[in-house]
């Protein structure tokens, strides 16, 4: 028997079933994937135990981009912590800043002006769109749809231009401050955002046209790696992954913060909790976020963009030339920072990937005694192993894309 026909014979005997074979000796292979593998979306390392093409177990190994941000934050005054926490989950910097600032504001018992709350909502939702666009582009790339990447990044680029217009930075904008936002929006910003939101729904339709009728994508997503709602709740999973399994839990609706209760929007939910539902839920959120941005722009209240509590918020620049008191406040805030009364708070918000909760403990000094981020990527990553168990290795790649972990947020 030649080597080729021997191979044919062996190939015929390969069963494509993902169930373990009765009575057969199972040969398991441990395969290392990552940390520098493009499909892991960052520096995630997976130890996969395979039986042929079937994944029997995976163990995520993390910590490759651990930079000790929580430790660094303890060594900085409250307002200097904002730029470092923004760099945790590098696709949702407005959310990180919002969670942290919200926690400190709760400790200070601060009132946030309505205009600042609306400006925050506009930027948070633009950020959610941006994050989902990066997810959609890179996930489609993992599933073989190259062109989606360019289309999604075209729209993402437009959002980054908007961020640059309002805050001067494209990423890590430090726009959200304790007490409000850094600056009022410039003239023409509202018009630019309107132009963007006017074309965003059509663009999202185009993505759907490209992907929804694609046989390859559908067969790779539909019915793969299902995890039911109860298991997800046990794994503390929140966000689009939980909503894809049919649980409409969204903090923007359940426990509104920053005036989210003023807006009319829907929570997209899935039915079975497979990869297709995860894809559809996030895709549907593109439309809902666009709706929120439009409503927030239309109803944008007049008034100050930041609280006028001079013990916490920097005085306006022009006052420094005329007011001695403003100069003293400015000096005190820049050198020492402000002191925060003792206490502990946990401030959760709905990030693009789930509940993003910031725990801040104050010991009464000008520096936080503990800052902890409950990052949704870190918690949701645990759900990957039960999802992909007994599925094919190709479905594992699809699932990892649909879980959407951002390794900056996982490792912090």
């Amino acid at each position: 028997m030649s080597a080729v026909s021997d191979y044919r014979k062996r190939e015929e005997s390969i069963t494509m079933s993902s169930e373990p074979l009765e009575g057969e000796t199972r040969e398991l292979l441990t395969l290392n994937i990552g940390p520098h593998h493009p499909a892991t979306h960052g520096v995630l390392r997976l130890l996969a135990t395979l039986e042929g093409e079937v994944v029997r177990d995976i163990k995520p190994i993390i910590g490759y981009v651990h930079t000790g941000i929580e430790k660094t934050a303890e060594d900085k005054s409250y307002w200097k912590v904002i730029p470092v926490v923004e760099r945790m989950d590098y696709l949702s910097y407005y959310f990180n800043a919002m969670a942290y600032c919200g926690a400190v504001e709760k400790l200070l018992d601060m009132e946030i002006p309505p205009r600042a709350q609306y400006l925050r909502v506009i930027h948070l939702e633009l950020n959610r769109l941006m994050s989902h666009l990066v997810w959609l582009g890179t996930s489609a790339l993992d599933l073989g749809a190259m062109s989606m990447f360019w289309y999604c990044f075209r729209e993402r680029e437009a959002i980054l231009d908007l961020f640059e217009m309002s805050s001067g930075q494209r990423m890590h904008t430090r726009y959200i401050q304790i007490g409000g936002v850094f600056e009022d929006i410039p003239a023409g910003f509202a018009k630019k955002v309107k132009e963007f939101t006017a074309k965003m729904p059509q663009r999202a339709d185009q993505y759907a046209d490209l992907l929804e009728k694609n046989e390859i994508l559908l067969s790779r997503l539909r019915g793969t790696c299902i995890l039911d709602e109860q298991s997800l709740l046990g794994l503390n999973v929140t966000g689009p992954l939980l909503r894809a399994a049919g649980n409409p839990w969204d903090l923007r609706k359940a426990a509104p913060y920053s005036s989210y209760d003023h807006f009319d929007f829907k929570i997209p939910v899935g039915t079975v909790g497979d990869n297709y539902d995860r894809f559809r839920v996030r895709h549907a959120e593109l439309y809902e976020s666009t709706k929120i941005i439009e409503q927030a722009l239309d109803g944008l209240p007049e008034g100050p963009h930041i609280s006028d509590d001079r013990k916490v918020v920097l005085p306006p620049r022009h006052e420094l030339a005329t007011s001695m008191e403003a100069l003293i406040h400015h000096f005190k805030l820049v050198t020492e920072g402000f002191r925060v009364p003792e206490g502990e708070v946990y401030f959760p918000i709905e990030g693009p990937r789930g509940e993003l909760g910031c725990f801040v403990r104050s010991d009464g000094s000008a520096k936080p005694a503990r800052v902890h981020m409950r990052d949704p990527s870190f918690v949701n990553l645990q759900a990957t192993a039960p999802m992909v168990k007994d599925g094919y290795i190709a479905d594992m790649i699809a699932t990892l894309a649909m879980v959407d972990p951002v390794l900056g947020g996982v490792d912090r």
Binding site: Y346, G357, R361, R370, Q382
Partner: protein
């Protein structure tokens, strides 16, 4: 958030089951917190879970340096039906930093407990895989403790690659 009275009621109910399990309650900044005896954490959490607080939103550690008992483990519990949150805090002493795991209740507590172990050195008894998670396996010390210095490690360059931490790896 339960209001101050509702929090007292919850604490009373928990005390009725085991008088020594609850050490106190606080209700500040709109946050309800129950301080518990660390050796009774699973019993208290099971009771709160039966009352509806059945989602573990977050689990994190705190260092109360220099006060003893120094290390705190905080469970942020959530009732999704009533949209209600309650925090449970167990403080363990530095000489005996041990507490029972809740992984059997919520498998999702796996990573957070490993993180608390890694950063603060609190050992979770009964955890199936109590290893470091973010720091290297051979790292010494628990960096998030308040008495652990910031930037205490030299950066390895070519001239000092043969001495200091990590040189033998």
């Amino acid at each position: 958030m339960p209001d101050a009275d509702a929090l007292q009621e919850i604490a009373q109910e928990l005390r009725a089951a085991d008088a020594t399990s609850i050490l106190g309650t606080t209700h500040v900044h709109g946050r309800a917190e129950i301080q518990i005896d660390p050796s009774k954490n699973v019993a208290v959490i099971e009771q709160l879970r039966a009352k509806g607080y059945n989602f573990l939103a977050s689990l994190h550690g705190v260092d109360y340096y220099p006060e003893e008992p120094r290390l705190g483990v905080i469970y942020e519990l959530l009732d999704m039906k009533e949209v209600d949150r309650v925090s449970v805090k167990a403080r363990v002493p530095l000489e005996h930093p041990k507490i029972e795991t809740v992984v059997h209740i919520w498998p999702g507590a796996d990573f957070p407990e490993r993180e608390v172990y890694d950063m603060f050195g609190v050992e979770f008894e009964g955890h199936p895989d109590m290893r470091r998670i973010l720091m290297p396996e051979d790292y010494e010390g628990h960096p998030q403790r308040r008495d652990f210095p910031v930037g205490g490690e030299p950066v390895l360059f070519t001239f000092n690659e043969n001495d200091g931490y990590g040189a033998d790896r």
